[in-house]
Symmetry: C2
Subunit: 327 residues, 2 copies
């Protein structure tokens, strides 16, 4: 099987590549060839095979998408995109990367013709939803994005579903919840603190909490996100029906519950490294975010996230910290 991953140098892209390198299979078939694309050259998978290609290229540039599908990968994970904050700051770049990049990829697939019909796994986001929200967001909640990123992801969902309906590809869109704990350095995303208040204390550093600890949000680990992608690749048209874009499950909890979980897993001393530092802007942004995602269809289709925030923390310690917490 030949697998193409776009956005392969991103956090999820790297973790998916590593998982495929370990599994060496997808849907019970051996992975024989990997093509990894991103705007910066993705890292090669150590010891995979010489049938791995990496390329630094922008899908929205002429010819790039055509070249990417020219060797007819059977499975395409389309993860490339600019994040919410950047899409809001740079209107043209957001539409170019998130919408035009997707369209170029789907056009290249369609124009290949000759029976080529790959499986395309796309990652929209719960940002396709916008406040006001019900208590929990049901699977059939309407598309009301309040960011350009959310609008672009919602447009891509519609584009993918139309290509799927017309039989040009087998598509599935998985709307990711906030990924927590994100490894690496703190970033300036408004959602960054959800990871920061766990990651920094576990690494022996202080972390700031810009919102009240009553704030509720839904989280899934990077490992769970990769699990969603791999599982999505196994679903058939019959299982998916006509509504191929699915909200993914996650752990819904308050910040106070996140902190209590950290205390249970790593002790009082670690949890004490979180310092309140109220930020009115972040408070206001976060107030418009979803709190609970029902994700009933995803659960029925076998998608599984962690069961508790304790489990999310333990996953981070195992996957990123070699099992060790800074005392």
């Amino acid at each position: 099987m030949h697998i193409l991953i776009t956005g392969a140098a991103g956090m999820i892209g790297r973790k998916l590549t590593e998982r495929l390198g370990i599994d060496r299979a997808l849907n019970g078939q051996p992975v024989e060839k990997l093509t990894l694309i991103d705007i910066v050259a993705p890292a090669r998978l150590a010891g995979f095979s010489d049938r791995e290609k990496t390329r630094a290229a922008d899908l929205a540039d002429p010819g790039v998408a055509e070249k990417a599908v020219s060797e007819r990968p059977e499975v395409i994970f389309h993860l490339a995109g600019v994040v919410s904050g950047e899409a809001e700051l740079d209107f043209e770049k957001g539409y170019r990367t998130n919408l035009d990049g997707m369209r170029a990829l789907l056009e290249a697939i369609r124009k290949t013709g000759d029976g080529y019909k790959p499986r395309v796994i796309f990652t929209p986001s719960i940002a396709v939803f916008g406040a006001p929200f019900p208590h929990a967001i049901p699977d059939d909640f309407h598309l009301t994005p309040l960011t350009s990123y959310g609008a672009q992801k919602a447009m891509c969902e519609l584009l993918l579903a139309d290509h799927h309906r017309r039989g040009m590809l087998d598509g599935v869109g998985i709307r990711l919840p906030t990924i927590c704990v994100r490894p690496g350095k703190p970033n300036k995303a408004a959602s960054g603190f959800f990871s920061g208040i766990i990651r920094e204390p576990l690494a022996g550093q202080e972390a700031v909490l810009p919102v009240a600890d009553t704030v509720r949000h839904t989280h899934a680990s990077p490992r769970a996100a990769v699990g969603f992608l791999v599982h999505a690749a196994s679903l058939t048209r019959e299982q998916l029906g006509s509504r191929i874009n699915l909200a993914m499950p996650g752990v819904s909890c308050t910040v106070a519950e996140q902190i209590e979980a950290l205390r249970r897993v790593a002790g009082d001393k670690v949890a004490a490294r979180i310092k309140p530092a109220p930020d009115e802007l972040i408070k206001r942004i976060v107030a418009g975010w979803p709190q609970r995602i029902e994700a009933k269809r995803a659960a029925a289709l076998g998608f599984a996230a962690e069961k508790s925030f304790d489990e999310i923390i333990k996953t981070h310690i195992a996957d990123e910290l070699g099992g060790k917490v800074a005392a």
Copy 2:
């Protein structure tokens, strides 16, 4: 006030142009200048003024949208598009006209800059919704189009809402129900019979009914559709809130109720010109269509359709037949 109408040669475009020619005003301001664009040259409005321009051009062609907004029309009615059947048959043309045309227009507006912020009235359709449906479709029903046309319209709604949210224009999208009675010759649209079974008998001709008379659907007259457009142009950002795409009201009735209305308005002899001619394909297509649209927000915002199908028939007789029915 300078008004630009795209798709001005279409049925609704022509009727909107005529209405503006009669009113000579919009939102209480005199209409001083009209620019009419379509892929075929729109008819000039008799006796309007020399400040009327008509142009045959495709908005998706380079430079056309820029030229269309170069004289900074304050109000833009964007009606241009290919219809459902054509968008399904010709995938590329549908995306080019319905999506790229809209995007080119919005890009041209954004790039004009210098404080230019027109009011843009767009006409999506209830085709943004797809079965299965609840008993009546609420305002917050999710976007699940089952045609390329519906997908394109839904993508344009999202694009318009994002430009509106970012303050690049004042947008409003009005999702039109089936327009009935459409004047002119029968066409091959699956929905054509809804108009045909009224229009043909009133003109002294037989009409075929391809579905059971228990089929229920929602209709509004061409005059009501023009009324929606004019009213939409008057709404403020404050009135619309963040959800600027609105389902329009209409008369929900069964085919049997349509026929009874025809009998009441025009007599038994006219109603007897409808002949059952079951068509399995049309039956199947129509079975996936919405039956009732709640349109609560539209009603609260002052949009009004006819109150009964009798009224829709009388509007057709007044507007298209000079008040006369063929005995």
